[in-house]
């Protein structure tokens, strides 16, 4: 820049003039390759392939996640299809008042929380335990076969999974009741019993996803430096000690990240599986927020009320994931962001 100690220095008017001159010159310079703008152009010219590859993801986000947010406003409007989103009148928090005075909705919220809690309690450790067990299998062929078998249910459509469950728990001819019969017990029509819905649902979820979910943890275990184990062997550790003192601490960051993600999805109880397994007799324990939204919003056409319920759902999930993330960051220096 200008050396203010020589020449004109001192006179305020002249300094203003000088600064104006600099500003002009800077603007002129902004078309030469030294400025941010030019650097950005250069950058795009050089790296455009990366942006082309990025584009589908961004478009997907815009079309399926950001654009629908516009429609979210109907949660605060008396929406009618004929008037459209923009022209429906505002009603403030009326839908939320309706929601929270609706016993079925409250019940659905509690059911969601209970099922999610059970899922977290039993479904979250399952893939970790499975991965740790796979890690202890030394026979390569046996290990691969076992892994393939537990991965399989993940690739089966929920409809078929539900079919299998319904058949297995059928009152007559279902394998579970046949086995109960061997012990002289009466057959139970499990799927009509509210008290059985949660165990069956959570169990099915574990059966379906635990194997596939273990892949992430197996990958984390594979990343542990093998000489840690060798060093422990020389120090005299047995396999059990190595699991507790090396493997689990080493994959703890992965476990925490997966836990944060899981907590973020707590309100998203597997919707299809509930729809496929529940029936009016078990609504009492089986009806979750998403199925309630589906029945109220889509089947009975109360889109605005359903949007309000969905927004509430998202808000809870948001708060949960933020909390989990900051707790994890505070206590274990691991966080998603």
């Amino acid at each position: 820049m200008v050396d203010r100690n020589t020449g004109i220095g001192g006179n305020p008017v002249e300094e203003v003039v000088i600064e104006a001159g600099e500003a002009l010159r800077d603007r002129a310079k902004s078309y030469t390759p030294d400025t941010n703008w030019a650097r950005m152009v250069d950058h795009f010219k050089r790296e455009w392939q990366l942006y082309v590859m990025l584009a589908p993801t961004i478009i997907w986000f815009i079309v399926f996640l950001y654009k629908p947010m516009y429609g979210l406003q109907i949660a605060f409007k008396d929406y009618s299809i004929f008037r459209g989103v923009a022209n429906s009148p505002w009603v403030g928090l009326e839908h939320f008042q309706v929601l929270f005075s609706n016993e079925q909705f409250i019940r659905a919220v509690w059911n969601t929380i209970k099922i999610s809690a059970l899922n977290l309690l039993f479904g979250f450790p399952a893939p970790i335990i499975l991965a740790l067990m796979f890690n202890e299998i030394l026979h390569a062929t046996y290990k691969k076969t076992a892994q393939t078998i537990v991965y399989l249910p993940h690739f089966i459509s929920s409809v078929i999974i539900a079919g299998i469950v319904i058949t297995a728990f059928a009152p007559t001819g279902g394998i579970v009741n046949i086995i109960l019969g061997w012990f002289g017990m009466d057959s139970i029509y499990f799927l009509t019993r509210p008290e059985w819905f949660r165990p069956i649902f959570v169990g099915t979820g574990i059966w379906q996803e635990a194997g596939f979910g273990s892949i992430v943890f197996l990958a984390a275990i594979a990343g542990v430096n093998p000489s840690l184990y060798e060093s422990a062997v020389v120090d005299g550790a047995n396999r059990w000690q190595m699991m507790w003192k090396i493997t689990i601490p080493s994959i703890l960051p992965t476990i925490l990240i997966m836990l944060i993600i899981r907590i973020g999805n707590i309100m998203e109880v597997s919707f299809e599986l509930v729809i496929l397994l529940y029936q009016p007799a078990t609504y009492e324990t089986a009806d979750v927020v998403n199925t309630w939204i589906y029945r109220q919003g889509l089947q009975s056409g109360q889109y605005d009320l359903a949007a309000a319920a969905g927004l509430f759902n998202a808000l809870v999930a948001f708060v949960l994931v933020m909390t989990a993330n900051s707790l994890s960051r505070r206590f274990s220096q691991t966080s998603l962001w």
Binding site: N225, S227, A232, V233, V234, G236, Q241, P249, S250
Partner: protein, 358 residues
């Protein structure tokens, strides 16, 4: 404390044999260095001693007890790994305590052992840090500390210094030597760095391709290499080797006749390889020296010495010369003088050292 005894140790991976029968006696309190090029089976041999690899054939004894089928933890050895193998989730103190806790040593004993060892290694102020927050040299010390606190019969080191920069390596090398002098624990140390081998070892074991080429003290190996491999492996730069033919009075190389100052005993006419250490030549003629005409390529100053890269008898040769603070006088060098008693002679076919005794 105890010796380690290997006899006829063989290692096979499936059909591939990678160690072909190692016989080695490591005496009590001895520091033995296994050295050799990459892939020669040093680590494999060490890991067989540790029990991390199964021994395919042969016998391993530690302290007079056969160890082939004994679990690593019952061999009473401690190993220091190349990448240190520190537990990233534990701090320095817990890393060092790991093996002791596994062995259920009482808490107060662990605390005193660790405090003592940390003192020896200068780690006292880092005890609460995680490995990620330490420098390479400090990590290396923690790895050593973890081995020391166990008070094992034998220390095993697998290239413990190879991840450090040159300066730190020199420093840690001296520390390991001091530590060994102080603790006197039988040690087997693997490296591919011949300087480390020379400086640390009571005895060096030079390995090549799964076999032992020679065992001896550093100076034995340096002065009397058993074959051309050992001659070329130890020393930096390595010994110059050139094809020659024995005559009645010496050896003919290219157009020159080198005085060997020893009786040829009827070997005249035999094809040999003669070896001349770069540091053995002088620029001035001396007792029993032969002048070799060289054509100088390049002078590399190293400070007090310089390397002369040259050609002699169609072979690339390297010699060392004193600079006396100046390399100008080295630029015009056209001959060097080789002291006869220091010339090594090897059989051209087998590469073995020739004594010419009979």
């Amino acid at each position: 404390m105890a010796g380690v005894n290997l006899s006829g140790i063989i290692k096979r991976y499936g059909a591939a044999q990678v160690v072909h029968g190692i016989d080695l006696n490591v005496a009590e309190k001895e520091f033995v260095v296994l050295v050799g090029p990459s892939g020669c089976g040093k680590s494999t041999t060490l890991r067989m001693i540790a029990g991390l690899e199964e021994i395919s054939e042969g016998d391993l004894e530690i302290d007079g007890r056969r160890m082939n089928r004994v679990a690593p933890k019952d061999r009473d050895v401690a190993m220091v790994f190349q990448n240190y193998a520190l537990y990233p989730h534990l701090n320095v103190a817990d890393n060092m305590a790991f093996g002791l806790r596994i062995r259920r040593m009482p808490k107060d004993e662990i605390a005193t052992t660790i405090a003592e060892t940390a003192e020896i290694l200068g780690l006292t102020e880092y005890l609460q840090r995680r490995p990620a927050d330490l420098s390479g040299g400090q990590r290396q010390r923690v790895a050593m500390g973890r081995a020391i606190v166990r008070h094992p019969k034998v220390f095993l080191f697998d290239e413990p210094l190879s991840n450090l920069d040159a300066k730190l390596r020199t420093q840690m090398r001296a520390e390991i030597k001091r530590l060994h002098n102080r603790l006197g624990v039988t040690s087997v140390y693997v490296t591919h760095d011949q300087v480390e081998a020379m400086t640390l070892a009571d005895r060096i074991v030079v390995m090549n391709d799964g076999r032992i080429e020679q065992v001896g003290t550093p100076m034995e190996l340096f002065n009397n290499p058993a074959n051309t491999f050992v001659a070329g492996f130890l020393g930096s730069p390595p010994m110059n080797q050139m094809k020659a033919q024995l005559t009645e009075t010496g050896a003919r190389v290219g157009g020159s006749e080198i005085n060997l100052a020893r009786p040829i005993n009827g070997h005249a006419g035999r094809d040999v390889i003669i070896g001349i250490r770069p540091e053995h030549v002088t620029l001035q003629p001396g007792d029993q020296t032969t002048a070799l005409p060289i054509s100088l390529d390049l002078v590399e100053p190293l400070g007090s010495e310089a390397l002369l890269h040259a050609r002699f008898a169609e072979t690339e040769v390297v010699f060392k010369a004193e600079t006396h603070g100046n390399i100008a006088h080295l630029q015009g060098v056209s001959e060097v003088h080789v002291p006869a008693p220091l010339v090594q002679i090897f059989d051209a076919e087998t590469g073995r050292a020739l004594s010419l005794e009979h």
